[in-house]
Symmetry: C2
Subunit: 143 residues, 2 copies
């Protein structure tokens, strides 16, 4: 298995609303318009996809419930290039309708980090740490 996560798909209750949050609110690029069946966002490395939550559950298995859990057990992290950018991205997410669940603060591991929930309860960390280095494509240097 080549080490590759090609797509992260987030199940959403209202696809046009979710598209507007990520496209218009956060400014991510997609060719999807408001009546798309699925939306793909080009990001460095891994593609972000939005798809109706009930259809996503059904696609995986007919036995799955599409109920929204309090905590999915999955977090996505956006590593910012500066500490100030952490606050800016969190403010952008809140302005777009997201919910700040943890205001940015100095974390126990030394970085500066906060969390927001998107409109469907998916958790994003926005973080910066002076020891993190970026590859030329924007991905993190991981040993």
């Amino acid at each position: 298995m080549e080490p590759r996560i090609s797509i992260i798909t987030l199940g959403v209750a209202d696809l046009p609303r979710a598209i507007r949050f990520y496209r218009d609110g956060l400014g991510l690029k997609t060719t999807a318009d408001d009546d798309a069946d699925i939306a793909f966002f080009r990001t460095s490395g891994t593609c972000l996809a939005l798809y109706p939550r009930d259809l996503l559950a059904e696609e995986v298995s007919p036995d799955l419930s599409a109920d929204v859990p309090v905590f999915s057990g999955v977090t996505l992290a956006h590593v910012a290039r500066t500490r100030e950018e952490v606050d800016a991205v969190l403010a952008l997410a809140e302005a777009a309708g997201g919910t700040i669940v943890k205001a940015a603060e100095v974390a126990f591991w030394g970085g500066y980090s906060g969390y927001f929930r998107d409109l469907d309860g998916h958790f994003w960390e926005v973080a910066w740490w002076q020891d993190w280095e970026f590859n030329s494509d924007g991905s993190l240097v991981i040993e």
Copy 2:
């Protein structure tokens, strides 16, 4: 906000067990040994991290339950380079202790796709489609 998902973190019940699944079973690369506090796997673009589920919930918010939902509402997709590789990766995941929840089949959108659950219930799609093209770094070409 630059279009970038830096890290995907999966909450897990038993970190050494999860490390063995991804490192020894699926063959992903990490410097983490069995008694690590967190494990980072280098993948093309987005880093995969494993972290104890209860600590991950606590890290996000003290109000979150660490209960495992039937369906997180998130799927990760590994796009294979050939149809045969889909079957091979699913077999590898099953041999490593994962559960096949959907055997690979021709999907309604034309590709060939199956799903497995990892040891903590996180869903992975393994898929191939003749129309998908890869960038030189292994990421998908997304318009």
